[in-house]
Symmetry: C2
Subunit: 226 residues, 2 copies
Amino acid sequence: MNQDQSYCYPYPHPAVTTDVVLFTIRDEDLQVLLIQRANPPFREMWALPGGFLDMEEDLEACAKRELLEETGIEGLYLEQLYTFSTPDRDPRERVISVTYFALTRSDTLQPKAASDAQEAAWFSLTQLPELAFDHAKIIQLAKQRLLAKLNYSTIAFQLLPETFTLSQLQTVYEILLNEKLDKRNFRKGMQTRQVLRETGKLSRTGNHRPAKTYRVINPTRVEIIK
Amino acid sequence: MNQDQSYCYPYPHPAVTTDVVLFTIRDEDLQVLLIQRANPPFREMWALPGGFLDMEEDLEACAKRELLEETGIEGLYLEQLYTFSTPDRDPRERVISVTYFALTRSDTLQPKAASDAQEAAWFSLTQLPELAFDHAKIIQLAKQRLLAKLNYSTIAFQLLPETFTLSQLQTVYEILLNEKLDKRNFRKGMQTRQVLRETGKLSRTGNHRPAKTYRVINPTRVEIIK
DNA sequence: TTATTTCGTGTATTTGGTACACTAACTAGG
DNA sequence: CCTAGTTAGTGTACCAAATACACGAAATAA
């Protein structure tokens, strides 16, 4: 077969990539980070950030590295989502994609294009452009997983800064669930879960009563509640 | 590099395998199917059934094929679990393992060794032998996932024959949860879920009152309840 | 007919979720 | 400094779901 290439195996091997669905909340909307492809296939089309696995790194490291390379973003919540393997999902060769979903607070980051991304930008989930490969399907699955975890984990806190008000937190839930929630019930529910601690400081914004601010008791871990 | 091998790529590619954690309930115990490896590495050691991905099949087809080849088992519930990628998890070369977990009723099958398995056998989760690769970790994760799904899906029904009594069903739950359940509450809960239908037939075994038998309303799908 | 075994059922209590409206605290503007 | 405007913060009544708990019914075997 192809004897002038460099890495040879007795049996055929697929290529392995990671793709990352990074969510944030911006402009009162759930948004996802996309990059515009600088190279074929699907050149100039929008796609999830991601890339080929290096031989020395594991998949999670690969996902983090690609996010950093293509967008400059790091230090976020990352969780393996699903592995996609339809034989013809990449026109170049057989590619297995191990997908991750990630969350970040919207305030800290400014995506910037780099490496093989021409451009990186946030898109509202309701206004996605046409996407390369099977990436539209991957985003749908990621959203489904995020929503499924909302009510029995502390995952939503990953979308907020370190300290926040209960109203901000409620807004996050309302955006994700796409429905209004009752203020008293929401607050009572949060009390029951015992995952928040008052900071003692107040948030003074606008011409109205200031709000107490809170932080998550265990900020590093996304806990499964109940 | 290695020019006398057949499949060559401009960049290094990992090998991709599937491994399957197949659970059943036998002897009042949660058991897992293992095969004894016929070839190195870890020759003669027990391991999960699985093997390398073919280029024309997707991962789920691979998992099914390997189960069939190595154990003769088919037609069961199968769900993707997690993808393992520690760089040195296989001493031969870089191997990515996409793992699945599967459930089957204990009555229909007799595992038999075949292809590169010397032998296939059921092991109680509490008495596992030393396992090849990182397979012990994979089994632990599969069990965790199974337990997490117990209370909000119909997954447990996959461990019973087509028709069964409520006592049999309760026993399955008790084995999985490792605790006694209250009979009346268990039955009331099943009624609320509306996933069972009476067959109209009775199960007559032993010197005692016969039990009504039931079947799942939607036998093909594992439904998420609530 | 009696002993033994498993099957099948109801009620009272607790707990978690939902529906619902007003006062408190601040700012801006007159 | 008073008023209007805005968001923060709180309690109670009701309903649904989960829990604790005990005994008669239906079969077989001796």
